[in-house]
C-alpha cells in the first residue's frame, strides 16, 4: 500500500537538472551528511558526463578523431558501456550518439534525415579505454546519465544505512525508489494526467519518463533523423540499474509491437505510453507494479 510518512528532502542541481533525495529517517543531521556525500559524488559524475562542459570526459570523447583513444574513469566507462548495451537491446531506439543532430535542432536548424553512417566506439574493459572508429562520435548520455547517477547515489544511501529513500532527478523524469518510507509502505509515484492519471506503488524499482509534453520534440529516431513518431509520452518501469531511464526514451521511438518485443527481451520491464490522441487510453506493456487511479 502507499501512504504518506514523514521524510526529509535534500536538493541539488547537476547535469542540467534538479536532484532530490527524500529520506525517511529521524536523524536529520545524519541524513544531511549522507545527502552531502551523495551530492559530492553527483558533482563528480556531472564533471565526467556533462557534454556541455568542454573539460568533461564525454566532451573529450566527442572531440576524438578516428583512431584516437581516451582512457576514462570507471564511472564514465560503466555509464557508456550500459548505454551501448541498451542501444543494442533496444535495436538502436535508445541512441546516446545524437549530440550533433540534437544541437542542430536546438539551434533552429533541422537534423539531417536520415542521419547516415556515423562513427563507432570500441571499448576495452581491461584498460578503461574508448577508441573512436570511422568518424567522431558526439555523445549525449541524457537520461541514462541521470539514471546512472541515481543508482550511484542509492549505493551511498545504502552504505550509510538509509534505505528508506526516494531519489528523483529532472523533476520526475528519473525516479528511483529504495525501501518505502515506513514498514509496509511504498513510495507513491504519479504517472499521467487527467482521466488517465494513476499512482504506482514503488519499492526497489525505477521509473523513467520521456515525452514531448514539456520540452517539445527533443527525442530523435536515429533511423530517420526526425523527431520520434511513436508516443507523445512514455514511462518505463524496471528494477534499479539505469535501464528504465534509457528505455523510456526508446519507447518514444518504437512501435507497439517493438515495445512488446522489448518487454519480452527485458524481464521485469514495464512500459506505459500515452498517444497524441487526448481521448485515447494509455497503453501498458510488460510488468507494471501495483497501481491505482489517482483520486480526483
Amino acid at each position: 500500500m502507499t501512504a504518506t510518512a514523514p521524510f526529509l528532502i535534500h536538493r541539488h542541481e547537476a547535469m542540467a537538472a534538479s536532484f532530490e533525495l527524500r529520506l525517511a529517517t529521524d536523524d536529520a543531521r545524519y541524513a544531511a551528511q549522507a545527502a552531502a556525500a551523495c551530492f559530492a559524488r553527483l558533482d563528480h559524475l556531472h564533471a565526467l558526463l556533462n557534454r556541455h562542459d568542454e573539460a568533461s570526459e564525454i566532451s573529450r570523447l566527442g572531440r576524438l578523431a578516428p583512431g584516437e583513444t581516451l582512457r576514462v574513469e570507471a564511472d564514465t566507462f560503466a555509464c557508456l558501456r550500459l548505454a551501448l548495451e541498451l542501444h543494442d537491446l533496444s535495436g538502436g531506439a535508445f541512441d546516446p550518439a545524437l549530440a550533433a543532430p540534437l544541437d542542430a535542432r536546438r539551434g533552429g536548424g533541422a537534423s539531417p534525415s536520415p542521419l547516415g553512417p556515423r562513427g563507432r566506439l570500441e571499448l576495452d574493459p581491461a584498460a578503461f579505454t574508448v577508441r573512436v572508429l570511422d568518424a567522431s562520435v558526439g555523445l549525449d548520455l541524457g537520461a541514462i546519465g541521470k539514471g546512472y547517477a541515481l543508482d550511484r547515489l542509492a549505493e551511498i544511501l545504502l552504505e550509510w544505512e538509509l534505505p528508506r529513500a526516494l531519489l528523483v532527478a529532472g523533476e520526475g523524469s528519473s525516479v528511483l525508489a529504495l525501501d518505502g518510507p515506513a514498514e509496509d509502505l511504498a513510495w507513491s509515484v504519479g504517472i499521467g494526467e487527467g482521466f488517465a492519471a494513476r499512482e504506482i506503488a514503488l519499492v526497489r524499482h525505477a521509473v523513467g519518463a520521456s515525452g514531448f509534453a514539456v520540452r517539445g520534440a527533443h527525442i530523435l529516431d536515429s533511423l530517420t533523423g526526425a523527431p520520434a513518431a511513436g508516443a507523445r509520452r512514455a514511462w518505463a518501469l524496471a528494477p534499479p540499474g539505469a535501464a528504465a531511464h534509457a528505455l523510456s526514451t526508446a519507447a518514444m521511438v518504437l512501435s507497439p509491437d517493438e515495445i512488446d518485443e522489448l518487454c519480452v527481451a527485458c524481464p521485469g520491464l514495464g512500459v506505459i505510453t500515452e498517444s497524441a490522441d487526448p481521448d485515447a487510453a494509455p497503453r501498458a506493456y510488460g510488468v507494471i507494479p501495483v497501481s491505482q487511479p489517482t483520486p480526483p
Partner: protein
C-alpha cells in the same frame, strides 16, 4: 543493482542496423589493445592519503602511462579499502598500509610517493619519503605552518630528491598560454593595475561518515584526532589545516604571484568565523595585496566565501588599461575582454594567441547600419585540453624524475609563493597591514 539481462535485441531494428549504410552508431567490443603500453620501465608509486584529493590524484594517475601504483596508505580503513578495490578494478593489486613508517619499511622498490594527507602531516610524511630516497609529489598547502613548509624545502635540498608541490595550474596548458603569451608576449591587458580572484562555495553541512565506518577511538587518538568529526573536518581545525585561505586561496593567490612575477609587498585582510560556530578557522576572508610592479602598483583582491556560491564561481582575473584576462580551471568561466579604446587584437587572433567569440566589427566607414545592439567583443583561449586537470602536473613530475623536464612547481618556488598566503592569514588574525619580506629558507 543490475539492469535487466538482455535476451536479444529487437528484430526489425537489429536487421536494419546490420544493413549496408545504416546508422549504426556504437559497438562494444572485446579488448583489442592497451593504452600506454611501452617498453619504458614503469615508475613505482606509493599514494599516501586517500581522502577526496587522494582519489582525484589516483584517478589522474590511472591515466598516466608508465607509472604503477603499488602501495596505498590511509589511516581510515574505509577509505583505504575503497581505494584498493578501485585499483583492483583497474588491474592493480596494491599493498595497503595504515602507517607511512610501515609502508617505507616494507616497500623497498619505490620510485616516488604522492602525498595527499591533511596539511599537518605533509611535512613529516614528505620528509620521511625524501629521506627514504623517494621523489615526492605533495599536495598544497605545503604545511599549515611556515616552519613545516620550510622544513620540506630544506629536506628537498639535503636529499637531492625532487619535491613537486600540487599547484597544478602551473602545468595546465591553458594557464601557460595565458601567462606566457597573452600577458608575457602580447601584453594584451596593457598595464595591469588590478587583479581579482575568488572561490565562493555554498553553505554546507560538516562532512559525516557512515556510522558503521567510524574509526576506533584509540586509532584516532594515536594520530592526534580527538574524535571522528575532527578527522572528517580537519580543514576547519588549526592543528590540522590552514582554513579556506589555505585550502582554496592557495591555488589562486599562487596565480597572482606567478602571473605577476613577484610576491606582493603588503597585505590587509579581514575575515571571521561568522557563520559556522563549531569551526576554528574563519569561514570567510577578503584580502587586498599590493604588488609593486615595474610599471606601477597593482592591487589584487582575493575573497573566499564558504557560505555563498554567489559571484560567478572560481576564477582569477588580471585587469589592465587595455583589457582583462579572466581565467579559471573551468574553461567555461574563462573570457578575455578588450577595452573599447584598445588597439586591435586581430594580429593576435591571426597568430592563434586567442580566438574571437564573434566576428570583429567592420572598420568604421561613411555609412552606419541601423541595427540591433551588438554584443561587446570577447575572446577565448585557443587551447582545449584533453586531460584531467591534475594529469599535466603529475606528468611534469614524472618527466622530471626521468630527467626530461624541470619541475613546474618545485618546493622552494612553492614556499616562496605560499609565504604570501601565510601572511594573509596573519593579516586576518592581527587585523593590521602586514609587510611581506622576501622569505628565507
Amino acid at each position: 543493482m543490475n539492469p535487466p539481462v538482455p535476451a536479444s535485441g529487437l528484430s526489425r531494428r537489429r536487421f536494419l542496423s546490420g544493413s549496408a549504410g545504416a546508422a549504426l552508431a556504437l559497438a562494444a567490443t572485446p579488448p583489442l589493445f592497451s593504452i600506454g603500453a611501452s617498453a619504458e620501465k614503469p615508475l613505482r608509486l606509493a599514494v599516501i592519503g586517500f581522502g577526496a584529493q587522494g582519489r582525484v590524484l589516483v584517478e589522474a594517475l590511472l591515466k598516466v602511462p608508465d607509472v604503477r601504483i603499488v602501495a596505498l596508505c590511509d589511516i581510515w580503513d574505509y577509505a583505504r579499502v575503497y581505494g584498493e578495490r578501485l585499483l583492483k578494478s583497474n588491474g592493480l593489486e596494491v599493498a595497503g598500509y595504515r602507517d607511512v613508517e610501515e609502508l617505507l619499511a616494507k616497500e623497498k622498490d619505490l620510485d616516488a610517493a604522492i602525498v595527499a594527507t591533511p596539511d599537518v602531516f605533509h611535512a613529516p610524511n614528505t620528509i620521511a619519503c625524501l629521506r627514504a630516497g623517494l621523489h615526492v609529489y605533495c599536495e598544497k598547502m605545503m604545511s599549515n605552518t611556515v616552519e613545516g613548509a620550510r622544513s620540506m624545502v630544506q629536506a628537498m635540498r639535503e636529499t637531492g630528491r625532487l619535491l613537486q608541490i600540487g599547484h597544478q595550474r602551473r602545468s595546465n596548458p591553458r594557464y601557460l598560454v595565458a601567462r606566457d603569451r597573452l600577458l608575457g608576449e602580447a601584453r594584451l591587458p596593457g598595464r595591469i593595475t588590478a587583479a581579482q580572484a575568488q572561490w565562493n562555495r555554498a553553505v554546507s553541512e560538516d562532512l559525516g561518515w557512515p556510522k558503521k565506518a567510524a574509526i576506533p577511538a584509540d586509532v584516532l587518538a594515536h594520530y592526534g584526532y580527538p574524535d571522528m568529526h575532527t578527522f572528517r573536518n580537519w580543514r576547519w581545525f588549526k592543528k590540522f589545516g590552514g582554513g579556506p585561505l589555505s585550502d582554496l586561496g592557495a591555488h589562486q593567490i599562487d596565480i597572482f604571484n606567478w602571473f605577476l612575477g613577484r610576491l606582493p609587498s603588503t597585505v590587509v585582510a579581514s575575515g571571521g568565523s561568522d557563520y559556522y560556530k563549531n569551526h576554528e578557522w574563519f569561514d570567510n576572508a577578503m584580502v587586498v595585496y599590493e604588488f609593486p610592479l615595474a610599471e606601477g602598483t597593482a592591487r589584487a583582491f582575493y575573497q573566499v566565501q564558504t557560505t555563498t556560491s554567489s559571484g560567478g564561481g572560481y576564477f582569477e582575473q588580471f585587469m589592465g588599461t587595455e583589457g582583462t584576462l579572466r581565467i579559471s580551471e573551468n574553461p567555461s568561466l574563462t573570457t578575455i575582454y578588450r577595452e573599447a579604446h584598445a588597439p586591435s587584437w586581430e594580429e593576435w587572433v591571426r597568430k592563434n594567441y586567442l580566438r574571437a567569440n564573434a566576428a570583429p566589427a567592420p572598420e568604421p566607414g561613411a555609412k552606419v547600419d541601423a541595427r540591433e545592439t551588438a554584443a561587446l567583443a570577447t575572446y577565448r583561449l585557443p587551447v582545449v585540453t584533453n586531460k584531467a586537470i591534475h594529469q599535466y602536473h603529475l606528468e611534469n613530475f614524472f618527466q622530471a624524475i626521468r630527467g626530461r623536464a624541470k619541475l613546474n612547481c618545485p618546493a622552494d618556488e612553492a614556499f616562496h609563493s605560499e609565504y604570501a598566503i601565510f601572511k594573509a592569514i596573519e593579516a586576518v588574525e592581527t587585523r593590521r597591514l602586514v609587510t611581506i619580506d622576501e622569505p628565507v629558507v
